[in-house]
């Protein structure tokens, strides 16, 4: 019995104030040295499952847990989280939130100090861990100055020094850019393979972890949990990766989990796809490339035109170093780039509320376009210079009627205690008819009750509410800063449909994101930023397939070709427009 790393016996969890159990009669074992991937929709109880494994549920959260959770034979019933600190290490989604000290070295030692290890052991383990995670040069660095990937590695290191036999990771890569995520995942696989640490990881971005996993644990909405081999479980899981979806569509068996497997299975599929290209003439090619080029083939007058945008932050940091950007109607533009490449600063500068140290941002106000529909011809500057306005010089209320921005932590915009009150406030602050915002919200996310507290909404619903609030002002340009963070694939697909719908009605949408698959689904055009400069700007298919780091999985399997998503492949093969 004590040989299982983690074992749950008929575990049910009911959290305080909840109507029904979050987890229902869960029987689950994870063997020593396994990498188990926990998947499930948002709010399905993934975090509760991890919490139960480290005794935070119910010791820290309250609620009722029936059944037994055993970690290497220790029952969480009689062991508080602190009594399990030498067996299980926990790393959360936001590494910075769990830091107790302020330098890397002290943080690595903190857990060992609490366990009362002798000084010489601590010195040795800190050095080992610094080398194991490849962060030796950061030894004295203040934790706040580290990049997201480095912070996450330090967080993992800080629990590793206590030599836990089980490591629980709750969405370790969700806040990271692709490179940072790779660093962290490489570290995790190294721990599993070299040290035989048991790792349980919950992750929305299944495609990042699936091919490393030995076991997949699926948490369903009703609280039931199934576990099995990745290939077996993915056949009917509601959370999948694009490769798995492609495999399901093409009917491959066994289901491929990595790009490599899929590429080997896809020889016939590729031939079919190339065949469709040859059959159709370039003009009526239904492939995805067509949709994605539209914005550039016929720009119908700019909505927003930025020239030489420079953003400096205090401390002589140049966040945006001279960016030229034009935004066109009916176009979804994705802004990509690593953490700290200046994406947020650029969006805030475009909106006019953030710092703009140099350059100009001109926006065509909606009234001008309505009164002179013909003047905004192709190639023109959207009317003469006198027609455009600089959002920066306007009052905040007028500014948001020109350019809307949904910030990174969208919930900052919400401060009233019901959804209905927020909608009402949005109507009155934008001077719209009462009910405008509520209608928009109902359209985007049906089923939100008006007297719900905004805090109780899921991440996707919160985002929809903030979007509705910002859309109430009816801005022709809408900017979204990392909206996909914390969304599960279903919510992401819904957001993608929503943004496409908004673009179809003539708006220009800009989305900053790390999520290549979302970009492949949603955007017409991709702008890549690095060190505050634009390094690539063009149609989605051209930009993201040109570098392996940015390419979506489907394109890696089917390439070279213009197919980015399973929907593209399906459209090409079945002749249905995407």
């Amino acid at each position: 019995m004590a040989d299982h790393a983690v074992s749950l016996e008929r575990v049910s969890v009911t959290l305080p104030g909840a109507d029904g159990p979050v987890l229902r009669e869960v029987d689950l074992t994870v063997e020593e040295g396994e990498l188990a991937l926990v998947v499930g929709r948002t709010g399905s109880g993934k975090s509760t499952l991890l919490g139960a494994m480290c005794a935070r549920v119910p010791h820290f959260t309250g609620g009722v847990l029936t059944g037994h959770v055993l970690l290497h034979g220790r029952d969480t019933r009689d062991h508080r989280p602190r009594d399990l600190a030498d067996v299980v290490g926990v790393v959360g989604q936001d590494p910075a939130a769990g830091f107790v000290t302020d330098t890397v070295e002290e943080e690595l030692a903190y857990g060992m100090e609490q366990l009362g290890l002798p000084g010489t052991t601590m010195r040795k383990r800190v050095e080992e861990t610094l080398d194991l995670l490849g962060i030796a040069e950061l030894r004295d660095a203040p934790l706040r100055d580290l990049s997201g990937g480095q912070q996450q590695r330090v967080a993992i290191g800080s629990v590793l020094t206590a030599h836990p036999r089980v490591l629980l990771l709750d969405e370790p890569t969700s806040a990271l850019d692709p490179t940072g995520a790779e660093e962290v995942l490489a570290t995790i696989t190294r721990l599993v393979h070299d040290l035989a640490v048991t790792v349980v990881v919950a992750e929305h971005r299944v495609e990042r972890v699936l091919h490393y996993a030995d076991r997949v644990v699926h948490v369903a909405r009703d609280g039931s949990v199934r576990s099995g081999t990745p290939a077996g479980l993915m056949v009917e899981s509601d959370i999948t990766s694009p490769v798995v979806e492609l495999g399901r569509y093409a009917g491959w068996s066994p289901l491929p989990l990595s790009v490599r497997d899929a590429r080997r299975a896809a020889r016939d599929l590729r031939a079919d796809l190339v065949g469709t290209l040859e059959r159709s003439s370039p003009a009526d090619r239904p492939a995805a490339g067509q949709r994605r080029r539209r914005g550039h083939v016929a720009p119908q007058g700019r909505l927003l035109s930025a020239r030489g945008v420079v953003v400096r932050h205090p401390g002589d940091v140049v966040a945006v170093a001279g960016v030229d950007l034009d935004l066109f109607p009916s176009e979804v533009t994705a802004v990509m780039g690593r953490n700290g490449s200046g994406k947020s600063s650029l969006l805030w500068a475009l909106q006019g509320s953030g710092t703009l140290s140099g350059g100009t941002v001109q926006v065509v106000p909606p009234a001008t376009r309505a009164s002179t529909p013909g003047t905004a011809g192709s190639g023109g500057a959207g009317g003469t210079a006198s027609d455009t306005v600089e959002p920066r010089v306007l009052a905040a209320g007028e500014r948001r009627a020109l350019v809307g921005l949904v910030p990174q932590s969208a919930a900052d915009l919400l401060y009233l205690d019901t959804v209905g009150a927020e909608c009402h406030q949005a109507d009155s602050e934008s001077g719209r008819l009462p009910g405008t915002c509520a209608d928009l919200l109902g359209e985007m996310a049906p089923g939100i009750v008006a007297d719900q507290h905004p805090r109780d909404l899921s991440e996707g619903q919160k985002l929809a509410l903030v979007l509705a609030v910002q859309l109430t002002a009816d801005p022709p340009v809408l900017l979204l800063d990392e909206p996909t963070r914390g969304l599960d694939p279903t919510a992401k697909a819904a957001l993608s449909r929503l943004l496409r719908g908004l673009a179809a009605r003539g708006r220009s949408i800009v989305v900053s994101t790390h999520d290549v698959e979302f970009v492949a689904q949603c955007s017409d055009r991709v702008v890549v930023l690095a060190a505050g400069e634009v390094v690539a700007d063009g149609p989605t298919a051209d930009v993201i397939t040109s570098s392996p780091a940015f390419a979506p999985q489907v394109s890696k399997v089917t390439g070279p070709g213009p197919w980015l998503t399973v929907a593209d492949v399906r459209a090409a093969l079945e002749g249905v427009p995407a």
Binding site: R80, M122, A396
Partner: protein, 375 residues
């Protein structure tokens, strides 16, 4: 060689030195000595402070000191009792009823009174600079790490609450910025609810995350303590505290019997120390790379003690050397012993090891937007 390698001097040593300097300063109103002490403190701070944020806070203490001097002078002009012969400024005086004899609103301002007020302000300002120096030189977090085992949980709690303040400021800034996006630019009291709710929510959420993380990393682990043992520890600590309280009362009140004074206080302190030691024995916690207490620490504390002892001795024997002669007004004296005593206080700037300098690794280009994760 080892004694000259760069390392951080024990924070308690800096506090000992700073308190010594402050005691020395408190005995004098001689402007020459006060300014000399200020120079000594500033020199040591400039030579031995680290690169941490609080090390840069020394300047704030200087500004605070300046504000105190100005406030003291302004108060003297407005409501102070004026005295002296050399007239500086003639102001009308408000006649007050006899029961308000200690206050003089307005009235002619004399140079002597003005100087006395300014020097009293300067003395307080220099004492505050001494405390500021201790804050700039000693890492408060490292000081808390040196707490006895029984108190380490309180130490951790203090560290965490200190780190909440900058986070709170960050959240407020973020929410204020976000509010602009809704076209809401109200300032002042009316903006409080719209800012406070998201900020409090954010802070609470972060605190809970941190608490959970600390719990999972073993914070608050204790060995099993037998009941009898716990009772003894409690009794000893409580007895010690009681005896200390009685002792302090005895020391301060001259009418109590002598046995209730210093002896009781010492016994109380000893008992309290014993209680802390007993309580700490069952905390399995250890300290990673504890700050050593070596020659440099003794030297630092010693310099502070010498400065304090010199000035206190001079003030007992020849107090006229330490005060500014006001009636009649004269040039302040420059006594040898106090000057040497204060200069000894500057020795740590040269004789202690230099603080370690971390390599610069700030990016010169690229945004500093921090990763904020919610939900």
């Amino acid at each position: 060689m080892r004694s000259t390698l760069p390392r951080a001097v024990h924070p308690a040593a800096w506090w000992g030195w700073a308190i010594g300097m402050a005691v020395a300063v408190s005995t004098t109103t001689n402007p020459v000595l006060l300014l000399l002490a200020l120079c000594v403190v500033a020199l040591v701070v400039a030579a031995r402070r680290g690169t941490s944020p609080w090390a840069r806070a020394f300047r704030l203490y200087l500004w605070l000191g300046l504000a105190i001097v100005v406030a003291r002078v302004v108060l003297h002009v407005l409501v102070g009792l004026k005295f002296g012969e050399i007239v500086v400024l003639r102001l009308p005086e408000v006649t007050l009823p006899s029961w308000a004899a200690g206050i003089q609103v307005g009235g002619t301002v004399y140079l002597e009174g003005l100087l006395a007020a300014a020097l009293a302000g300067l003395r307080l300002a220099v004492m505050i600079a001494c405390i500021g120096a201790a804050n700039a030189l000693a890492n408060p977090k490292r000081l808390l790490r040196a707490l006895p085992g029984a108190l380490h949980e309180i130490g951790s709690a203090v560290v965490v609450s200190v780190s909440v303040a900058p986070q709170l400021a960050e959240s407020v800034q973020r929410v204020l910025r976000a509010r602009q996006l809704r076209g809401d630019t109200t300032r002042g009291l009316r903006a409080v609810p719209t800012v406070a709710l998201p900020v409090l929510e954010d802070t609470l959420e972060r605190s809970l995350l941190l608490a959970a993380a600390m719990d999972s990393r073993g914070y608050g682990r204790t060995d099993h303590v037998p009941g009898g043992h716990r009772l003894v520890t409690g009794a000893v600590t409580l007895g010690g505290l009681l005896a200390s309280a009685v002792g302090i009362y005895g020391v301060l009140d001259a009418t109590t019997p002598a046995a209730m004074g210093t002896p009781t206080l010492l016994a109380g302190l000893a008992l309290s120390g014993l209680g802390l030691w007993l309580g700490g024995r069952h905390v399995p916690r250890t300290t990673y790379r504890p700050d050593p207490w070596r020659g440099a620490e003794w030297l630092t504390v010693g310099c502070g003690v010498v400065a304090a002892a010199t000035l206190v001795t001079v003030s007992r024997t020849t107090p006229e050397l330490l005060v500014m002669p006001l009636t009649p007004l004269a040039v302040p004296p420059l006594p040898m012993a106090p000057v040497v005593g204060l200069l000894v206080g500057a020795l740590p700037a040269y004789l202690t090891p230099a603080p370690p300098r971390p390599a610069a690794r700030a990016a010169h280009r690229g945004a500093r937007d921090r990763v904020v994760v919610r939900g």
